[in-house]
């Protein structure tokens, strides 16, 4: 309805009768007294002195509460109208805020009605100040919030439930993650070993894995890998890969054969529209006679190169070029390399969660990278298994939230002979 009537455009020159009706409605509106607007406003209205004493209250609010004007004006405070809990909230939050800011809006409180009921309301107050800036009185509007409160209670319930479920999920993920890793690393005579698993997100179980276990005739198997993807589906592949690797190593401990068998299993299990693949490095450890030390044959399927940190402080990448992802092709090429681990040497295996981490320090989102890790290892060498793992752990901490993916680290080291043994 156009009620201005003076803008002079042709549109509102409606036939006489309708214009007359409009005019009457408009006049009625104008005759609506300020007093009536106040008393019967569609919201509660009250004014209080600065100490809270009610000085003026409209009929709407009196009707909602069931009070007579005379019972309240000059006799009761605004906080007297609230439930006890609401009064505590009013005194500790609402009133101080109002004093500091001069206004407070949209605070949820409950009013007590004379019939013993409660009325959920949204309260907004402003302080009226005098010419000298001194606060004079508080004006407050009160909106009926029954519908909104019911809606909010439902939201709150849903949010609480979501929080509980998220906690449950985190617990499940943590438990699942633990079952995918060996509880402790097995003790290998003449070898110092250490491992660390960094969880990037507690919401999703990651797909990294490692293990170290005895094989026949004094040899040992070890592996470390990374399943593509995250979550329950990836965890299932991780589980399959772990058990397949251990079984395959018993069947034929040749590292290339172990990975080849895993490749076959993954191809069979996840063929068609849901291919699942991983990168793995598998090693066979054989003690080398009386001199101490180990011969290690490594086979890699698409995995980042292991690092060999020598006793003399030099560092080599153990290249296994051309090794292909396990589980993609029916006949993946697997690369092998053999290294010797002498006293004081440390072999470090890791997943690419480490090298792909974004550096918080530089702030431009650069990935950490292979080159930086090599540099880091050079500064670290010579080292021990536990020192190397601790150093990587500290390095991961510096990345903070820049780590998208889980990271597994496994280090093995042949301890240097103690002084006594040397003599």
């Amino acid at each position: 309805m156009n009620i201005s009537g003076e803008t002079g455009s042709g549109d509102h020159r409606a036939p006489g009768k309708q214009a007359g009706t409009e005019h009457a409605a408009f006049s009625a509106l104008l005759e609506d007294s300020a007093e009536d607007l106040y008393e019967h406003a569609p919201c509660g209205y009250l004014s209080t002195l600065m100490d809270g004493t009610i000085a003026k209250i409209n009929t709407t609010l009196l009707d909602w509460l069931g009070h007579e004007r005379g019972d309240l004006v000059g006799r009761r405070t605004f906080s007297d109208l609230l439930t006890v809990g609401g009064r505590l909230y009013h005194e500790t939050h609402f009133a101080p805020l109002l004093r500091i800011q001069g206004e407070v809006s949209g605070i949820a409180l409950e009013l007590r009605t004379t019939d013993g009921g409660r009325l959920p309301v949204l309260v907004t107050s402003t302080v009226k100040t005098g010419d000298d800036g001194r606060p004079l009185l508080i004006r407050t509007t009160v909106f009926d919030a029954r519908d909104r409160r019911a809606y909010e209670t439902e939201l709150l319930r849903a949010r609480r439930q979501a929080e509980r479920e998220r906690e449950e999920l985190m617990r499940l993920n943590a438990t699942l993650q633990q079952t995918l890793l060996p509880p402790t690393l097995v003790n290998v005579p003449g070898l110092d070993v250490a491992a660390y698993y960094h969880v990037a997100s507690t919401d999703m179980v990651g797909g990294d894995f490692y293990d170290l276990f005895p094989l026949s005739a004094g040899t040992w198997g070890l592996f470390l890998g990374d399943v593509c993807g995250k979550g329950a589906a990836a965890a299932a592949v991780t589980s399959l890969a772990r058990y397949t690797l251990r079984a395959a190593a018993v069947y034929d401990p040749d590292p290339a054969a172990v990975l080849s068998n895993l490749n076959t299993v993954l191809n069979h299990e996840y063929n068609g529209h849901d291919p699942r693949f991983c990168t793995v490095v598998f090693g066979l450890l054989t003690p080398e006679g009386e001199h101490g030390g180990f011969r290690i044959t490594l086979a890699s399927g698409g995995h980042p190169p292991a690092l060999l940190l020598h006793a003399d402080g030099s560092v080599d990448q153990v290249d296994t070029p051309g090794g292909q992802l396990i589980g993609v092709l029916p006949d993946a090429h697997i690369a092998t390399a053999t290294v010797h681990l002498a006293a004081g040497d440390t072999l470090l295996l890791y997943t690419d969660g480490l090298t792909e981490a974004r550096q918080a320090r530089t702030g431009d989102g650069d990935r950490y990278g292979d080159e930086a890790l090599l540099h880091f290892a050079r500064a670290l060498a010579p080292t021990t298994a536990s020192d190397a793992v601790a150093a990587i752990r500290d390095l991961l901490d510096t990345f903070g939230t820049g780590i998208d993916d889980d990271t597994a680290v496994l280090a093995i080291n042949v301890p240097r002979p103690t002084n006594e043994e040397q003599q």
């Binding site: 439930t83 809990g85 909230y89 005194e91 939050h93 101080p96 500091i100 800011q101 409160r149």
Partner: protein, 270 residues
């Protein structure tokens, strides 16, 4: 742990003057003292801070274990005194912080020249068996927790970094309406429990430093007999009833509150 940033400690006023530490209660933060500070600055070194979990304190320092009783908060008060190393202080504790002052002064009396307990209550919940009236029933306190929850949706986790993350530009925090009283809901619930369910009546007798109990007229939270109870249990303490109404005299009547503190500090130094 850097105590100063953990508790957002602010030191202002006359350097070398008697030290007055102002501790805010449940609900808001150190802004609650903003009208009193200018009145004290001329004479005193004024120390302000936020309790961990409130205002712009370091939220990451909050833990449900440390802060599930008043002891954690009390330890913070003592750590702030030690960190600033300003010698014995007059501790002004509002509401629940008054009891932190009681516990701290009982533990390390040498750290305090005196206590001002502003609108204190050693126990909010009634104990009819012992003839004690704190003013509230346990159900009332549950209802308060309900009131906190009702305003829970107004607090957004995304808001916290904005308030907390700009220490070099505090005015950014200031612009946020209601931010002074905006608290992480879990922390608010925990602090509400500590505030309203603690019973420190027995601890009052351990206070040996000069103490002023300053209560308000018509305080909906701490009724007059509670102020009288506190006075009767702290040896040699004095009770004044301020003309200020409500629970926050430092906002309702800053001049009167500042005068009470100033007079007390003067008296304890003679």
């Amino acid at each position: 742990m850097d105590v100063r940033s953990r508790n957002r400690v602010t030191v202002t006023g006359r350097s070398g003057g008697p030290v007055v530490v102002l501790a805010h209660g449940f609900g808001c933060d150190q802004h609650l003292w903003r009208l009193v500070v200018p009145l004290l600055e001329r004479d005193f070194t004024v120390v302000l801070f936020d309790h961990v979990g409130a205002g712009r304190s370091d939220l990451s320092a909050w833990s449900p274990e440390r802060y599930s009783t008043l002891d954690g908060y009390t330890e913070d008060v003592l750590e702030i005194c030690r960190e600033l190393d300003l010698g014995p202080v007059t501790f002004v504790g509002h509401s629940v912080s008054a009891m932190m002052g009681v516990l701290a002064a009982a533990r390390e009396p040498k750290a305090f020249t005196g206590l001002v307990l502003l609108a204190p209550s050693p126990c909010f919940v009634d104990d009819p068996a012992n003839g004690y009236r704190g003013g509230f029933s346990a159900e009332d306190i549950d209802e308060l927790l309900g009131s906190l929850d009702a305003n829970y949706l107004g607090w957004s986790g995304a808001m916290a970094p904005v308030i907390m993350g700009n220490p070099e530009r505090p005015e950014l925090g200031e612009e946020l309406t209601n931010s002074f009283c905006r608290t992480d809901p879990d922390i608010a619930r925990s602090f509400a429990r500590v505030t309203f369910l603690s019973d420190n009546r027995e601890d009052l007798a351990d206070v040996t430093v000069p103490t002023l109990v300053a209560q308000c007229s018509r305080d909906a939270i701490a009724p007059p007999e509670v102020g009288e109870f506190v006075r009767s249990r702290i040896r040699g303490s004095r009770l004044v009833t301020l003309n200020a109404t409500g629970h926050c005299p430092q906002l309702a009547a800053p001049e009167e509150t500042a005068a009470a503190i100033t007079d007390f500090v003067g008296a304890t130094r003679r």
